[in-house]
């Protein structure tokens, strides 16, 4: 359970990025955070991981206030939060395997990690995860040899091998094509269900957010202007988040969603069983 209370962030430039945000994310919930650029979405998840220091407020992960932690405790808390980044943020000159094992750095000592002598259980888990996303045959490739979709799947493995309780996902589909974007979002959603993870996903694509999240929080200028189910995103709500625009083509039709079988304009939600062939198409 993640409980954010009165989270405020003022950058050194004086910009007030977050104006007292309150969000509770129960265990196992996948929440999408939407809003225009500069609304503070990235700041929220960076504050949770303390890559950005909050100005005030509290962030409790399972009743531990992350804001108050010292350096050593913060390292231990970070192990429990997996981050998936915009533009993947893989270390390009390290191999796929090394990138995945980066997620274990918080659990092993320096010499062990320096000599790349990770415990066998970590290596087994890394192979299991790579196999799960269809990349186990790429383990010794350098990360910069992979395509965008493949890189993001390595990024997902790196976050999951931390054995996190919470996933923080920052624009996972920002530089991916529409099909790959859907596959990546579906993968994240499936993995969250499998592992009963909660997740905060920052995302620009409203349709993707509606398809893959159980709950949507809309942020505008550092304030929450919407917090509710995906179907509650009416044109009026979107206007309050993003400003005036013609929203008719953006929103998933609520009535069609309610009525019986899935319609064509609803993305087909395949059963959560990834087969290698489908993922191998992501090259």
């Amino acid at each position: 359970m993640l409980r954010i209370k009165g989270l405020t962030k003022r950058y050194r430039t004086g910009d007030l990025a977050l104006k007292g945000i309150d969000i509770d994310v129960p265990d196992g919930q996948v929440m999408a955070l939407i809003g225009p650029s500069g609304a503070g979405k990235s700041t929220v998840i960076r504050c949770v991981d303390r890559l950005v220091e909050p100005t005030s407020g509290s962030i409790e992960l399972n009743d531990v206030d992350i804001v108050k932690l010292g350096a050593g405790e913060l390292r231990r808390a970070r192990r429990r939060m997996g981050m998936i980044f915009q533009e993947y943020a893989l270390v390009e000159r390290l191999s796929v395997m090394e990138n995945v094992l980066t997620g274990r750095l918080g659990y092993v000592g320096f010499w062990q990690s320096w000599l790349r002598r990770f415990p066998q259980s970590d290596i087994d888990e890394a192979f299991r995860l790579l196999e799960r996303v269809g990349l186990d045959h790429m383990a010794d490739k350098r990360a910069d040899e992979l395509s965008g979709g493949q890189r993001q799947r390595v990024g997902i493995c790196r976050a999951l091998i931390q054995n996190p309780e919470l996933l923080l996902v920052d624009e996972p589909t920002a530089s991916l094509d529409p099909k790959t974007s859907r596959q990546i979002m579906r993968l994240i959603k499936e993995l969250c269900t499998e592992r009963k993870l909660s997740a905060i996903i920052n995302i620009h694509d409203v349709m993707l957010a509606q398809t893959f999240a159980e709950r949507i929080v809309g942020l505008r200028l550092g304030e929450i202007v919407y917090d509710g189910p995906p179907d509650g995103l009416t044109p009026a709500v979107l206007t309050s988040i993003y400003g005036e625009e013609d929203w008719s083509a953006t929103i998933r039709k609520v009535d069609e969603q309610a009525g019986g079988p899935e319609e064509d304009n609803v993305l087909p939600f395949e059963p959560p069983r990834p087969d290698r062939n489908r993922l191998a198409g992501l090259t």
Binding site: R75, R93, L105, S113
Partner: protein, 268 residues
């Protein structure tokens, strides 16, 4: 009803300096200064002319190069220079890794940063010859003074470029490693080192051949090595031996150059 006549609009690239007055003042000022400088440069053409045959005699004294009569001394000088080069490059790089890491603004805390930058500035502000003169006074003639000189000079060169390379790294990659709960050393090893490594190897090889060339020069002021041998040859008016030494230096520098170029391409 009006017929819209669109007059064709003129366009010219905007000048670098906006004010025309300023532009002309600077151009004329520069021209006048150059003219004055050339006029007052003391060139004695008659003397230059007289010097030509003397120069020719001097150059012809180099031929044929004599490798044989002083070969033992040449071999010893080369061995000493190579020793100096290898040891000072290794020691210099080892020292500059820590100084350079401290001098990277994005990863070092402010006091460490300013201290390391000061070390680099001191190292860089003295030319190798000046350092060599100083260290020869300190440690006496011989290759040890040369080794200290080259190590110290390597810190300034390598440390600065190392620090700049760290500052230019992609922060997102490093941040992702930090977000996993890595300790500082693990963060450097996984997030920073892979990003700077290829360039560091390339620069190390480049510094190796700089150090070899410098080792020939600092020998002249007493830092040992092939430079000392060369200096002795000149002092004894043994120009044919000097020519042999110069040829050996050129060959080794070229070998280093090609070798390091090849290795650098391979590392990238």
């Amino acid at each position: 009803m009006s017929v819209a006549v669109t007059a064709s609009r003129r366009w010219k690239k905007p000048p670098l300096i906006k004010s025309a007055w300023m532009r002309w003042t600077l151009a004329i000022g520069a021209a006048v200064y150059l003219a004055l400088v050339f006029q007052t440069t003391p060139v004695n053409w008659a003397r230059a002319w007289e010097g030509l045959p003397r120069g020719a005699a001097f150059v012809s004294a180099f031929f044929p190069p004599d490798f044989i009569s002083r070969w033992d001394e040449i071999a010893e000088g080369i061995a000493e220079s190579l020793w100096m080069t290898v040891v000072s490059t290794v020691v210099g790089i080892a020292l500059s890794v820590s100084v350079g890491t401290g001098a990277a603004k994005n990863i070092a805390p402010a006091p460490v940063y300013y201290f390391c930058r000061a070390v680099l500035a001191v190292s860089r502000s003295f030319q190798e010859i000046i350092l060599a003169i100083f260290f020869v006074k300190l440690f006496g003639f011989g290759p040890f003074a040369g080794f200290v000189t080259l190590s110290f000079a390597t810190i300034g060169f390598y440390g600065k470029l190392f620090a700049e390379d760290i500052e230019d790294m992609d922060p997102a990659q490093a941040e992702a490693v930090r977000a996993s709960g890595a300790s500082w050393l693990q963060w450097i090893n996984y997030g920073v080192q892979p990003q700077v490594m290829p360039r560091m190897i390339g620069l190390g090889l480049y510094r190796f051949d700089i150090n070899f060339r410098e080792s020939a020069v600092i020998g002249i002021v007493g830092g040992g090595g092939i430079g000392a041998t060369l200096n002795t040859a000149f002092d004894r008016y043994e120009f044919s031996s000097a020519a042999a030494i110069i040829i050996v230096i050129i060959v080794i520098v070229m070998l280093c150059e090609y070798g390091s170029g090849y290795l650098r391409r391979w590392v990238q």
